[in-house]
């Protein structure tokens, strides 16, 4: 590396206190000394601390994640890269991933959420895919908590602020409110991109002598130790770390996106990766590891935004909107030209080497030299103790006889529709541009979003789902339900799943009960995936979601992508015309555990979540899919939070314009509240023309799915005989304005 003028940097002494301050244990320190054959210097200590952080190393989760099925006939790229990739035919493929930005969003909701979106977008376009849709999965505390409104407003504005500006539509998501998230909200961002199969790019550094280039925004002191922050629980201490918050610049990222995609049409690239958590360090180390190479950086060449930055700070900065790429030797200037066209910096900062070592220089002096393996494959792996909490039995004990029956079921239905968890989320998604790129066939508001693929008859369907309450009550079943609900949402629009990505949000892995929840959830997801034939192609783990020793509900969220071979065939949840028959695919059981009804009306989070029979689940989904493929279904909507009555109400309230009533008769012998509001799984409410009922029956019989005629579409009311009867407009009023009513309340 040539000599460059830079102030010599004298490394502060490494003390035990410093090691502890970096979040490394004594044992980890000993391991470092062993791997290096000496004490690390200050800069190296910083590098180890971020690379060995939970966030980057997956040290507590790795052994469990191995259980997840990652193979399938559509899978082109499974976990391990910046995003997973599945084949969608016609020489095209879909790349997608989900990532958490929980802690930053709690500290600064707008910027935290915005940079979360920015980060996940980079993960997608770094693979050569143009982002075509984003979704998000959000958890906030109860509306009674003083910070909830502020956090909700900021997060939603931040997601919109970034996504709208960069021109990627935000087409769906979920929002859930519960005290469990009062002091630790969840912001999980998902992005889907589309690429040509023969132009997929990976984060690899190969070919000794190839130049390593830095492109995009300049480096500042932002977010230093962000990766370590994501690996810690909240405390007074973390409040003081505030200036580590990063500000997003979606405009620069838009330029970066276009420039990278332009570059990827050429043959000048060896590998490329975004600088996410742990910035320059993790991107270069991971690229070297994947390529089986070494990497050498001259840090004084890194474009800086601030003066006096040390090598330590340059390596650990988490400034946004930056990428690292390895070009073919001799193509540097061509690469630079493309970035110049988009007014962006592109600088050669190093080169690929043979010696499998990560080396950083500053003005020619070596400031760090660490074997790549020591930072990656040799990083600690923990088999953390796991133990079922003693309280779990009590938690699962729900004596239905002791749950009083409500007097007026109509009032309860309205109450449920007014619950922030069930109410319309329009207040949220109208702040997102869900149309840009003009591919959105079904935007937010449906069971899954449907994005057409221009130039073909196909479309992709996307959904994100998760239910922390179910997972809290029974993490194994909860894990299955999460996967099943996602697949069911895809089935409702007519899409067959190709793969999923997940974001696993949990408390501290150092708590045996949290590790138990984690391992149970993974086993549940594994079984759900296996039964439904959905591979896991990418994902993210977020531990340490707890405050003052209280973990959040174990909350895995799943983003699932499916394919519709004929976009014209897609189905929406809403009833279409009076006279259509309303049919339930699946079966209602007497279950109330973990339901929104139980929580809202009886203030109780208890029992076991609804049971699931995966064979039945498959039969129901398959029947729905086959019926849609045959063009029989006029509408389809899965039964989830709030149960059958809420699902029916949603079908009636309808799309943005039209409301249609329904006349239903329910004769089951069970508690009326369980019948109406229980959340039995594997149920889809569909509507068909009367003449098609026979065909639907045949399909369901063949698949082995129970089928029950509920009634017919029509009239101004939702009448569920003999239990309740309400004008649809009254239901709509409860449902449509619920979020806004609560948000306005504080304006006085």
């Amino acid at each position: 590396m040539g000599r460059v003028a830079a102030k010599p940097f004298s490394q502060p002494a490494v003390t035990l206190a410093l090691i502890a301050a970096h979040g490394l244990t004594e044992e980890e320190h000993r391991k470092i000394v062993h791997l290096l054959g000496r004490e690390p210097n200050y800069t190296e200590l910083g590098v180890f601390s971020v690379m060995w952080s939970e966030h980057c190393s997956y040290k507590s989760s790795r052994v469990h994640l191995k259980l997840l099925p990652t193979e399938g006939k559509a899978v082109i790229q499974g976990p391990g890269e910046n995003a997973g990739i599945v084949d969608i035919g016609d020489g095209l493929c879909a790349a997608f991933k989900m990532e958490s930005h929980n802690h930053p969003s709690f500290i600064e909701p707008y910027q935290g959420a915005a940079t979360g979106v920015g980060g996940i977008l980079r993960d997608i376009f770094t693979m050569g895919a143009r982002p075509i849709a984003s979704l998000n999965s959000l958890r906030f505390g109860s509306f009674d908590h003083p910070r909830t409104r502020y956090l909700l407003g900021g997060v939603v504005a931040g997601i919109g602020g970034y996504g709208n500006c960069i021109g990627v539509p935000t087409v769906g998501g979920e929002v859930f409110f519960d005290e469990s998230y009062n002091a630790n909200i969840l912001v999980n961002a998902f992005t889907l991109g589309i690429a040509e199969k023969r132009r997929i790019f990976k984060g690899t550094a190969k070919g000794a002598g190839n130049p390593v280039m830095y492109v995009g925004a300049k480096t500042g002191r932002d977010g230093i130790h962000g990766a370590t922050m994501a690996s810690e629980a909240f405390s007074e201490e973390s409040e003081k770390r505030r200036p580590t918050v990063q500000v997003g610049d979606p405009f620069t990222e838009k330029l970066l996106l276009e420039a990278c995609l332009e570059l990827m049409k050429k043959n000048w690239l060896v590998g490329i990766q975004d600088m996410g958590a742990a910035g320059l360090t993790s991107s270069s180390v991971e690229m070297a590891a994947r390529g089986g190479a070494g990497i050498e950086l001259e840090l004084s060449r890194v474009p800086l935004r601030e003066t006096g930055m040390t090598p330590y700070e340059i390596l650990l900065s988490e400034s946004q909107e930056r990428m690292l790429l390895v070009a073919k030797k001799g193509q540097e200037n061509q690469v630079k030209k493309i970035f110049e066209r988009w007014d962006l910096d592109a600088v050669v900062v190093g080169k690929v080497t043979k010696d499998r070592t990560f080396r950083a220089f500053f003005g020619g002096a070596e400031v760090a030299a660490i074997p790549v393996a020591a930072l990656t494959s040799e990083a600690p792996v923990y088999h953390r103790p796991a133990e079922r909490p003693a309280t779990q039995d009590e938690l699962q004990r729900l004596e239905l006889e002791k749950v009083p029956q409500p007097e007026d079921l109509g009032v309860v239905l309205k109450q449920l529709l007014d619950s922030p968890n069930i109410a319309s989320k329009e207040w949220v998604f109208r702040q997102y541009d869900h149309l840009v790129r003009s591919n959105t066939v079904v935007g937010p508001g449906g069971d899954a979003a449907v994005i057409r693929i221009k130039g073909s008859h196909k479309a992709l369907a996307v959904t994100v789902d998760g239910n922390g309450r179910y997972c809290f009550l029974d993490p194994y079943v909860g894990g299955i339900l999460t996967v099943a609900e996602s697949a069911r949402n895809l089935a409702c629009v007519g899409a067959r799943p190709l793969g999923l990505t997940d974001c696993l949000n949990f408390g501290s892995p150092e708590r045996p009960e949290v590790m138990w929840q984690f391992s149970q959830v993974i086993q549940g997801m594994r079984d759900g995936c296996a039964a439904l034939g959905v591979p896991v192609v990418s994902g993210n783990v977020s531990f340490y979601n707890e405050t003052d020793g209280v973990p959040i509900y174990p909350t895995p969220t799943v983003g699932m992508v499916g394919l519709l071979s004929k976009v014209q065939r897609h189905v929406t949840p809403w009833f279409k015309s009076a006279g259509d028959l309303i049919v339930l695919l699946g079966r209602t059981r007497e279950e109330l555990g973990g339901s929104e009804y139980l929580k809202l009306v009886h203030g109780s989070v208890k029992g076991t979540p609804p049971w699931i029979d995966l064979r039945l689940e498959r039969a129901v989904q398959e029947s729905c899919l086959k019926a849609i493929e045959k063009g029989i279904l006029r509408s389809a909507h899965d039964v989830s939070d709030g149960g059958l009555a809420v699902a029916l109400a949603e079908c009636c309230i309808g799309g943005p314009e039209k409301s249609l009533g329904a006349r239903i008769e329910l004769r089951e012998m069970m508690r009326p509240d369980a019948l109406l509001f229980g959340e039995s799984q594997s149920r889809i409410v569909v509507s068909v023309k009367e003449k098609d009922l026979g065909r639907l029956r045949d399909i369901a019989a063949k698949e082995g799915a129970p089928l029950q005629i509920l009634g017919e579409v029509g009239g101004p009311r939702l009448a569920i005989q003999p239990l309740l009867q309400l004008p649809v407009e009254e239901l709509r009023a409860a449902w449509a304005g619920a979020l806004e009513r609560r948000l306005r309340r504080d304006e006085g």
């Binding site: 002191r221 200036p243 918050v245 500000v247 997003g248 620069t252």
Partner: protein
């Protein structure tokens, strides 16, 4: 009394607006310009018995609402 409040991103926090404006000014031929920062300017009327009282209230308002302490600094002036 009239209070004029200036809110600015903290030193070291990325200021994408400032950067974009700076680049634009350069393209427009104002190459002598540097270090552009874009912030907020808030004016308000306050009824207070004394300058000191007004100052106290203004500071409170800034801390609570008008500036985001995580990323912003503020300064204000009071005119009687």
């Amino acid at each position: 009394m009239r209070v004029k409040i200036f809110v600015r991103l903290k030193e070291g926090v990325l200021d994408p607006q400032g950067k974009a404006v700076e680049r634009s000014l350069h393209t427009l031929g104002y190459e002598e310009v540097g270090d552009v920062r874009v912030g907020k300017y808030i004016e308000l009327e306050i009824a207070a018995p004394s300058r000191q009282a007004a100052e106290k209230r203004a500071r409170e308002m800034c801390d609570k609402l008008l500036a985001n302490p995580v990323i912003e600094d503020y300064r204000f002036e009071i005119q009687e």
